[in-house]
Structures are given as structure tokens and as C-alpha cells.
């Protein structure tokens, strides 16, 4: 079911006229609006500045997570939908003005105020719709945030007294006032059914002697976010996500650790594939891993590499995607620490230059629900700051146009890209399109041709690549030997899971434990060809450009996943190698169930 959007263009409404509030009987919303109005009207410490902007963000969270291993439940926490187990408020208070305020500043200090939540998003408030108590918590939270803001703003002004700021973008953007009600899919789940599914699915590994440890984690979450700000914007936004996460690990015959995973996404339990279908995927995963145990090692390879499907998505997101987000430069109290807090400002210096070949274009589109029928999971109609989502062209025909950001502006920008998701800006749904492509057969032939031209015995084709967010979910203290990415200036990306040597006659031979070495942002400019059919993947991205926790850091109120539609990518030159660390010995005995 599609989300319903109510968008009322409110040109110049008086600030506290909330006649069109989403649900008039909503006590939480009413408490937020009333305390907001009082704060804007009365909150002032002696003759210091009043806040120019206040926003409240409330998140309710319902979750069901069941983990099973080898046919038995290991962990189960499951509340029925409709019984929110937590409600968290974030308070954002800004003093100064849009051009220069208390944000984008870092000095190590405690928050001020009586209750002093550690970060701005730390108020735990009544689950009951008790108007008075909701307001009491907002009152204390606002008092703390206001005092902290005054303190910060004074320190920031002092720090800037003797410095000339090179980044002159305003601290906070002005955005249209919106009233949005995005209700998402209705969701229901049943604990007994989920437990039985997780058990049965994890029991598939009882038939796979080659796997040492495994886990199936079934999880469903519903978020409900409410937002009001002093400019008059409000939204109510519900989001759901269901995942089935499968993890397995073992050791190769020579002792090297091997791990693989699979994640299935859906908006509701009903949209998940059938249990048989998932079981089939688990068997495929186990078989892949088992075959890997006996596969050959490749000592070292430098040459053309073709990334297909999941691997294309991962290399693109881990390499380039995590830099497609920008954060404003932070003024640091102690300028010796400047580099610590401004070490990753994304690709901001490269805006206007080429970062990809001229046939590739990248658009972030939060409003998109699917690509030719395949669902996307990173989207929303309104971001956490109450900015209505719209497509952003990040890379146009190879040239970097802008970086994704929140209302904290980057040099040269005037508006948010509606990318605020929880702790920072983040991509949502990335669509990579190409003006020139080959069929997958042609692409493979191209790989072989390039390898031959370089005098290589074979080219390398990668089908699966690891991702830290998933691969580390099994509790494994088994030594992980990683050495890749150590060349100075290179990007650190996760090891490859499934790679093949492709010989001139087209036959493929499995290669295991390969790591990417020496990948740089420049490597992406040298993508030579891509496939005609994109693959749609959903995963998690590590955002490199993050600000220290401060005003605007809010509890995530939706899934933290990113979806991407991306063709297979043929890189001209990628360095790969086996890990060079110590290899652990094999287990002291066989697995008890297979020790016959």
C-alpha cells in the first residue's frame, strides 16, 4: 500500500497556527506544539538571546526480533504491533540566526540544564499519552538544550573572533513550511509464527556439515515519528521494515576463516518470499561456502575486474557512496583538534570535477518506491528535518554536482537535499544509470579481452562482497585476518566473498579469501563498461562525513538501509591479494553433530 501524502502549501502562516495538525486528537502532538509555543514566546535567560528556532522530534519504536541457530531459538524479543516499547524525544534549539548559529561548532563540554541528556536526542518520555508529563519532559529537555545552545554559541563566537571562516555557507537553510502525513504500510506480526519460521530455517544448517556456525535472524520494526518546528512545519511519518538475515561461517581446508551472508528485505511479513524460497536461498548460501573451503587461493592480481550484482552495489557504496554525503566544516574550539573533527568532509572539494566516467549518472531519489517492480527500502516522503523529499542529481554524466546534506549547508548550496536520516545525512535510494552499456555476455567477453591484452592468464569476476554491518553479526571471536587496503590514500573496503577467475574460454574457477588493495576514488573514473540491466540491492552504508554529536543529532526514526539500482561495473584496474596475516588452526574436533 502506498503512503498517503498530505501536503499543504502554507506560504506565510503565523508561526504557531497548527490548525491543520495531522491528527487533532493526538495528545503527543498537542503537548509538543503547546510547549514549543511557550518556549518560543517565553524562553529567555536574562538578557541573552531567545531561540530563533526550536524543533521537537518524537520517535516510537516497535520491534520483533527472533534469532535462531541450528534449529533452536537463541534470542526472542517480540512485542505485538500497537504496543510501542519506547518513546524518545529529541529537542533542537538554535540561537543566533540562520546565517550563524550554535551549530557546526565543537568543544568538548557537557550539556547544560537540570536533566542534561547526554546528547540532544536522549529524553525518555511517558509511553502513556499523559499531556502534563509529556510537557514536563519537553520543558526540561528544552531548558537543557537552550542553555547548551547559548553556551555553545558564545564559545563559537569567541573562537571565530580571531579566525576568518573560509566556509561562508549559512549554518541553517530556510525551507518551505510543510504539513505531511506519511503513514506507510500497515504491519502485523505473530510471534509464534516468526519463532517457528526462524527455527525451521535455521535447522537447514543441520544438513550442512561444512558449516561451523550459523544464524537466522528474523526482524520486523515499525517506527512512528512526529515532528514540529517553530517555523510551522509538522509531520507524522510511519515506516516499517522486515529483514531475514542469514549468517554462516566456517574455515577453509587451510584454516582461513570464511563467512557469507544473505539478507532478505520486505516492508511487511506478508511481502517476504515463502519459507521454501528462503530455505532454498539458505541452502545456496551453505553450498557456496562449502565449495569455497576447497577453492584455490590467488596470491596477487592486478588487472581488470568485473563486479556483478551485489558486488557492484557494495564496491560502489563502500568506495564512492560513503563519500557522497557532505557535512559542514565544524568550528573547533581547540584548533589543534581541527583535523580530528574535519577529517572527512566528503568530496566537497571535487564538486564540478569528474568522479565517474562520462556515461554514468547518479541520482538519489527518496520518493521512489521501486525500480521496475523491485522494491526500494531507503526512501521516505519527508526527511527528519521536515524537508519534503525530491530527487538530487549527485553525479551528472560523470561530473560531481553536489553532495547530500541536511539543513546544515555546504559551500555553494542554499537548500537541504532532504537527506537527514538519524545521526547524519545519508543516501536513500541511489539510481545509477548509464548512457552506454553492454549485455552481460558482452561485458564478460570484454573482461576476457582486457585480461588478454594485459597478458593475464585470466580476468577476475566478483559476485559477492562482504559488508561489515552484516558480516560481523555472528558472535565470532575467531581471528579475522585482514590486510587489504593498506596502501596510503587507498579506500578501505571489505573483503570479497565470492570471486572467480575467468579464463579465455569463458570457464570460471572459484577463488577465495580475496581482498581489495589500493582502491582509490580515482579507480571509479576508470570504469570502462557497465551492463545494460541494473541490479537492485539493499544494504547499509558507512557514512564518512559525520559531525560530532550536537544539535540536530536525533534518534533514527526509520530504517538505516540504502537501496541502489546499479549495473555491473567493469574496472580497468583493481589490485587484489590474499590476506597475509596468521592463519588460525582448524577446530580441535569435528562439529558434534557430524562427528560420527
Amino acid at each position: 500500500m502506498l503512503g498517503r501524502i498530505l501536503l499543504l502549501a502554507q506560504a506565510c502562516l503565523p508561526i504557531f497556527a497548527f490548525q491543520s495538525a495531522p491528527a487533532s486528537g493526538d495528545v503527543v502532538m498537542r503537548a509538543m506544539q503547546d510547549e514549543l509555543a511557550r518556549s518560543m514566546k517565553k524562553l529567555q535567560l536574562e538578557n541573552l538571546q531567545k531561540p530563533y528556532f526550536v524543533a521537537y522530534h518524537a520517535v516510537e519504536n516497535e520491534n520483533c526480533t527472533v534469532t535462531a541457530s541450528f534449529g533452536a531459538i537463541v534470542n526472542s524479543y517480540c512485542e505485538p504491533p500497537g504496543t510501542a516499547r519506547s518513546r524518545v524525544f529529541s529537542v533542537e534549539v538554535r540561537v543566533g540566526d540562520y546565517a550563524r548559529d550554535n551549530s557546526n561548532f565543537f568543544a568538548p563540554m557537557m550539556n547544560a540544564g537540570v536533566t542534561r541528556p547526554l546528547i540532544t536526542g536522549g529524553l525518555t518520555v511517558p509511553l502513556d499519552d499523559n499531556y502534563d508529563e509529556l510537557r514536563r519532559q519537553l520543558w526540561l529537555g528544552t531548558d537543557s538544550a537552550y542553555k547548551t545552545a547559548l553556551d555553545t554559541f558564545a564559545k563559537k563566537k569567541a573562537a571565530l573572533e580571531h579566525r576568518t571562516r573560509t566556509d561562508d555557507a549559512p549554518d541553517f537553510s530556510k525551507e518551505p513550511v510543510v504539513t505531511i502525513n506519511e503513514m506507510g504500510s500497515p504491519i502485523a506480526w505473530n510471534r509464534t509464527e516468526i519463532e517457528s519460521a526462524a527455527k525451521a530455517l535455521s535447522a537447514v544448517f543441520r544438513e550442512t556439515p561444512g558449516i561451523d556456525n550459523s544464524e537466522v535472524r528474523w526482524s520486523a520494526t515499525r517506527w512512528l515519528a512526529r515532528y514540529v518546528n517553530s517555523e510551522g512545519s509538522t509531520y507524522v511519518r510511519a515506516a516499517t521494515l522486515v529483514t531475514v538475515n542469514i549468517n554462516a561461517d566456517t574455515q577453509a581446508d587451510d584454516g582461513m576463516p570464511l563467512a557469507d551472508y544473505d539478507v532478505i528485505y520486505a516492508r511487511t511479513p506478508a511481502e517476504l518470499p515463502s519459507r521454501d524460497e528462503i530455505a532454498k536461498r539458505i541452502r545456496a548460501l551453505a553450498m557456496r561456502l562449502d565449495r569455497m573451503r576447497k577453492a584455490a587461493l590467488v596470491e596477487r592480481y592486478t588487472g581488470p575486474v568485473l563486479f556483478e550484482g551485489q558486488a557492484a552495489a557494495e564496491i560502489f557504496l563502500q568506495g564512492l557512496g560513503s563519500y557522497m554525503v557532505g557535512a559542514p566544516r565544524v568550528v573547533v574550539d581547540d584548533s589543534r583538534l581541527d583535523r580530528v573533527y574535519n577529517s572527512n568532509t566528503g568530496l566537497i572539494d571535487r564538486v564540478g570535477t569528474r568522479v565517474l566516467p562520462d556515461f554514468l549518472t547518479v541520482v538519489d531519489n527518496p520518493a521512489l518506491k521501486d525500480v521496475s517492480g523491485t522494491p526500494l527500502f531507503g526512501g521516505y516522503q519527508v526527511d527528519d528535518d521536515g524537508v519534503k523529499s525530491a530527487p538530487t542529481t549527485i553525479v551528472d554524466q560523470g561530473v560531481l554536482k553536489t553532495l547530500l546534506h541536511t539543513r546544515g549547508l555546504l559551500p555553494g548550496t542554499t537548500h537541504s537535499t532532504a537527506s537527514h536520516r538519524g545521526f547524519s545525512a545519508s543516501p536513500s535510494n541511489l539510481i545509477v544509470t548509464s548512457s552506454k552499456s553492454l549485455t552481460s555476455e558482452q561485458l564478460k567477453a570484454e573482461l576476457i579481452k582486457m585480461a588478454q591484452q594485459r597478458g593475464k592468464e585470466y580476468g577476475i569476476l566478483v559476485r559477492r562482497m562482504s559488508n561489515m554491518a552484516f558480516a560481523s553479526s555472528l558472535l565470532r571471536s575467531r581471528m579475522i585476518i585482514v590486510t587489504g587496503g593498506s596502501t596510503p590514500g587507498s579506500l578501505s573496503v571489505e573483503p570479497l566473498i565470492e570471486a572467480y577467475k575467468v579464463y579465455p574460454d569463458g570457464h570460471e574457477e572459484l577463488a577465495r579469501n580475496l581482498e581489495v588493495n589500493g582502491l582509490t576514488l580515482g579507480s571509479f573514473k576508470d570504469i570502462v563498461s557497465v551492463s545494460d540491466v541494473p541490479s537492485v540491492q539493499t544494504t547499509q552504508v558507512r557514512i564518512m562525513a559525520r559531525q560530532p554529536m550536537m544539535a540536530g543529532s536525533i534518534t533514527p526514526s526509520g530504517p538505516s538501509v540504502v537501496s541502489i539500482a546499479i549495473p555491473s561495473l567493469l574496472f580497468e584496474d583493481v589490485g587484489l591479494q590474499r590476506p597475509s596475516g596468521d592463519v588460525p588452526s582448524l577446530p580441535f574436533s569435528k562439529h558434534p553433530s557430524f562427528d560420527k
Partner: protein, 564 residues
């Protein structure tokens, strides 16, 4: 090195379902599964060059239900959460020197300090054994690595003071009691109760936090070892806390709390009793707001029985935990004091995990076996002022080669010698009135206008490492000046400080009252439930300092409810 001993709520709590041991129940699937896997592993290990000399598995299942209210509303309520975790003690080397021996001069590896792995919540032997095997393999590989480093380290470093070895043999106990009774939690009822317990605070705009948390917990433990031990025990615990804080006009924070514990739901106080305590808390908070700030003071003081428990737990109890006397980095306060007088002759101290009650108070530090499978027993630590022994885990100490059943840990940590129910008893006592008279006499002797009375103390921390002063600090909440004419005055902002040995020397007398205090103690082996109790005590001299004051002002705006 700080030993935090916060007697404050938000930690898990476990304790005693005190029903006499029944005839052993039929063997549990869990015990069978972990025993079978342990035997299989030991068989396989035999073929290896460095086989373990000891292996034990301790599986702990907890089922917990928690409900929290604040100012008359519900802020947290979840369904019962069930968890099973296994702790693995795998040792290579020998009792004299094994892989757990501390490596001097090296950073401790983070992962080695923790010992916890999730286990299936179901009695499915195949799944249990599969995970157990996987974790055992990891522990084994790590243990072999550790042993190599240990052997080199002892060769290149100076000789250690203590030569008693790394582990002691213990009797292989076989015991099984039926599973504890089902958790009795009517969530709706308790949601309503915690709302009611915190509703009275609503009236006060200057009380900034007021919470009540109810926790019900059921714990089942299964322990097997390569020595042949096989133990199954179970307990339930019900706990209720109320905490609140206000601020004085100068910004000083004034926290208060109440803590109630029972092994049965029926053992918790009735609503009227809780509400009475809540009312007293609001009164005390308002009185504290107006109370004068205590100046630095050196002079006589009385500790109430409740305060005695906390003080002894902090400044004495932690120093008689065996490992404190062993390791080179520890202060070893009492290592050479065994057989000597360390307290006045009229005081004795014992630690007794088998004791279930002190007067009307149920004791939270009860258990039948410690976390190393050693049977719990009463340990007389100090008899008539003379130090006799320490609280021992299976980590031996020169002249104390055996455990006395005090090897404890919270799930996930490595075992250490810890307190259970620490009780101070006096052989000569006076009435509280007489004690107060003596206090006034002492004050007069020193030309002081008053003595101090510590009615309540909220716990604190004590430091036992070397390289830092061996001080302690506790957080007194309700303290009174007792003037020479006998009248009392509440004061705020008192911080009790001192060093352990000098403080003990200054005890003059004890009263004939007795009170025990339940709490959670956090130290190197995790938060464990403990009790501490004793009589009221008169000290000839204690030292107090000004409490560091919060610099935060009260809120700018009036509470929303008052701002019409």
C-alpha cells in the same frame, strides 16, 4: 582502579527462592547436553599436544520482566525477556601456572576479560552442543596462545610475591534442585503500581526526576566441570526501587532512593508501605532543599546500622576479597595482617551466602553454590577483631590454598572473589540513646559544637589498586548534626572520605540495633547482588568534605503545569 559499588537500581538482580532443597529432580536436558559435549571435547583434547587440564561450562538462564514509571506515567514496560548464556572456563597448563596468569607489563586484551556466549533458549541438545563446540574451540585456541605468553612472561619478569598458583582443586559437587517457580508478573497491575508510586511527585515542580522500577527475575544455573561437578540451581528475585532528585537553590543536586527486595512477590512491601516511603521521600527532599550546607569537618560520628553495612561493604569488604591480596598491582592491604587485630575486639565480621534473612530483611547475597561450583559456606573473616581469612574463589593465595565458596560473577565476566552477605556483629553493645550520649561526650572533648549522625548512605566506590591513594568515598544522603544539647539538624552536601586502615581504628562502640542493606555491587567480575549489615557504630573521628556541587541552575521557565 575503581570498584564501583553503586547501591542503585538499574542493574539486573537475582536472588533466592528459599525453599529447602527437594529430592533431586530428573536430570535436565541441559545438564545432559553440556555434560556430553564436555566429555566429547575432553576426549578429543587428549589427542592434542596441549590438552586443557580443566574445563567447565556454566549456563545461566534468566527471565526478566521490568516495568518503569515516572511522575505517574509509564515510561518502560516490556514482555519477559529470556536469555541463556554460557561461561566457559578452559585452562591449559597446570594448577600452578596456567593461561589465566596475568601477564605483567602487557595491556590486557579486551576480549579476554569477558566470557559470554549466547545459548539456545530451547532444550535442543544438538543446537546446544553445536554452539558449545564452536565457542570451546575459540576459547581453546586463545588459551594455548595465552599460555605461551604467560610462560615467557614469568621468565623475564621479577619473581612474584605470591607463589600459590593460578587455580585450586575443589570437591566435585553434584546437586540438583527443581526449576524455580514460574515468574508471577501481572504486567498491567505493576504498570499501574509504578504509576501510583510516582504520582505523588507530580505535585512538585522542583523535583526533576522521579522513577519507580519493578523487576522480576528468575534465574536457573547449570554447571558442569571436567572434575565431575554437576549442579543445577534456581532462584527468583523481585525488586522495587523508587528514585527521585531535586535541586537546592544553589544548584546542588539532592538525590534520594528507596530499594526493596524479596525472593517472592508477596515479600515486597504493600502499596501503603511503599506510598508511605514515597511520602517520606518528598518530605525529605523538601527538607534537604532548605537544609544548610555542611562545612568540612573532622570529628566524631555515628553510622546508623544501615550506613554501617554500606561502609563495611565498601571500605572493608572489598579489601578482603582474596585476589586483592595476590596480584602485584593490588594494594594487598591485609596480606600480612592475618592473625593480627584490625578491628576493635568487640567486633566480628563474617560473610555468609547461606544466610537468607537478617531480622525481617531478606538477604540478596544468598546462593547455594558459587560460580565455580564450590558449595557456599559461612566464612568468619574477623573474629573478635582478629583477621582470620579472606573471601576466596578458586584462585589460591599463599596459606589459603582453597576456595571458600566466594567465586562470583555476573554472566559474561570472569570469576573473582566477591562478597555475599557481609555481616558485622558486636559482642558488647549499648542502646542507641547511650551511643548518642557518647557521641556528644566525644564532641565536647574536642570542643566541637556538634557530632554527626549518618542515617542513610547511597553507596560509593573504593579504590584498591596501587599507584592511587587507597581512599574510599561514599554518598551520604541523610546526615544530621547532633548538637551538645541533643537537638538534631539536617544538613546537605556531605561527602565522607578517608583511608581504610585509619578509619577502622577509630571505632569506639556499637549499639544494639541491627539492619541489613541489599544492593548490587559492581567490580571486576560484574554486578552481583550483595547484602551488608551491622549495628550502629560510633567513630571517634571521621572526615567529611564538601560535595562537588552541580553548576546547573534550575530551569528558566516554571513547570508547564504551573504556567497558566
Amino acid at each position: 582502579m575503581k570498584r564501583n559499588c553503586l547501591f542503585l537500581p538499574p542493574l539486573l538482580f537475582l536472588a533466592s527462592a528459599i525453599s529447602p532443597a527437594q529430592a533431586p529432580a530428573r536430570r535436565s536436558t541441559m545438564l545432559d547436553a553440556i555434560t556430553a559435549e564436555l566429555s566429547r571435547s575432553m576426549e578429543h583434547f587428549k589427542k592434542l599436544q596441549t590438552p586443557p587440564y580443566f574445563l567447565s561450562y556454566e549456563v545461566v538462564e534468566t527471565e526478566t520482566s521490568t516495568v518503569t514509571g515516572s511522575f505517574g506515567t509509564l515510561v518502560a514496560s516490556g514482555p519477559p525477556v529470556r536469555r541463556r548464556q554460557v561461561g566457559i572456563d578452559l585452562r591449559v597448563g597446570a594448577y600452578e601456572l596456567d593461561n589465566t596468569h596475568p601477564i605483567r607489563g602487557a595491556m590486557q586484551i579486551f576480549g579476554d576479560q569477558f566470557n559470554v556466549y549466547p545459548m539456545p533458549l530451547e532444550d535442543d541438545p544438538e543446537a546446544i552442543r553445536a554452539l558449545l563446540w564452536y565457542y570451546t574451540d575459540q576459547r581453546y585456541k586463545r588459551a594455548v596462545e595465552q599460555l605461551i605468553s604467560v610462560k615467557t612472561n614469568v621468565k623475564v619478569k621479577a619473581e612474584e610475591t605470591d607463589k600459590s598458583g593460578d587455580f585450586s582443586p575443589a570437591k566435585a559437587e553434584v546437586y540438583s534442585e527443581p526449576a524455580p517457580p514460574k515468574l508471577e508478573v501481572d504486567r498491567k497491575l505493576w504498570e499501574d503500581k509504578v504509576r501510583r508510586y510516582t504520582a505523588p511527585f507530580q505535585r512538585y515542580g522542583n523535583i526533576y526526576s522521579a522513577n519507580s522500577t519493578f523487576t522480576a527475575e528468575k534465574e536457573t544455573r547449570w554447571f558442569v566441570s571436567s572434575d565431575g561437578a554437576s549442579i543445577q540451581t534456581g532462584q527468583t528475585a523481585y525488586r522495587l526501587s523508587v528514585t527521585a532528585f531535586a535541586k537546592a537553590s544553589d544548584g546542588m543536586e539532592l538525590p534520594l532512593f528507596e530499594y526493596m527486595y524479596s525472593s517472592t512477590l508477596g515479600g515486597l512491601p504493600k502499596d501503603e508501605v511503599v506510598l508511605e516511603k514515597v511520602q517520606q521521600m518528598t518530605k525529605n527532599l523538601m527538607a534537604l532543599k532548605l537544609a544548610p550546607v555542611m562545612e568540612p569537618y573532622v570529628g566524631p560520628a555515628i553510622l546508623s546500622p544501615r550506613a554501617t553495612g554500606v561502609i563495611f561493604h565498601e571500605i572493608f569488604g572489598h579489601r578482603i576479597e582474596g585476589q586483592r591480596e595476590k596480584r602485584e598491582g593490588q594494594s594487598q592491604t591485609f596480606r600480612d595482617k592475618v592473625g593480627q587485630k584490625i578491628l576493635p575486639e568487640f567486633l566480628s565480621v563474617y560473610s555468609d551466602p547461606t544466610q537468607t534473612k537478617a531480622g525481617p530483611t531478606e538477604l540478596a547475597g544468598f546462593y547455594r553454590f558459587d560460580n565455580e561450583g564450590v558449595k557456599a559456606r559461612r566464612v568468619a573473616v574477623v573474629e573478635n577483631g582478629v583477621l582470620k581469612t579472606f573471601l576466596m574463589s578458586r584462585l589460591p593465595l599463599d596459606h589459603f590454598p582453597e576456595s571458600n565458596g566466594h567465586g562470583r560473577r555476573a554472566a559474561g565476566y570472569n570469576v573473582a572473589g566477591r562478597q555475599s552477605n557481609l555481616m558485622v556483629v558486636a559482642s558488647q553493645t549499648v542502646t542507641p540513646q547511650e551511643l548518642k550520649k557518647q557521641l556528644i561526650e566525644e564532641a565536647k572533648k574536642r570542643n566541637l559544637p556538634y557530632g554527626l549522625y549518618f542515617e542513610d548512605i547511597a553507596g560509593g566506590f573504593t579504590s584498591v589498586g596501587r599507584g592511587v591513594p587507597n581512599f574510599f568515598s561514599v554518598i551520604p544522603t541523610m546526615v544530621y548534626r547532633i548538637y551538645l544539647d541533643g537537638h538534631e539538624e539536617l544538613v546537605r552536601g556531605v561527602d565522607l572520605i578517608g583511608t581504610a586502615l585509619t578509619t577502622f581504628n577509630k571505632i569506639l562502640a556499637a549499639d544494639n540495633q541491627y539492619s541489613a542493606f541489599n544492593g548490587i555491587c559492581g567490580a571486576e567480575s560484574g554486578p552481583v547482588p550483595v547484602s551488608a549489615g551491622g549495628p550502629g557504630l560510633l567513630f571517634s573521628e571521621i572526615e567529611v568534605q564538601k560535595k562537588p556541587k552541580s553548576q546547573e541552575l534550575s530551569p528558566i521557565l516554571a513547570p508547564p503545569s504551573d504556567d497558566k
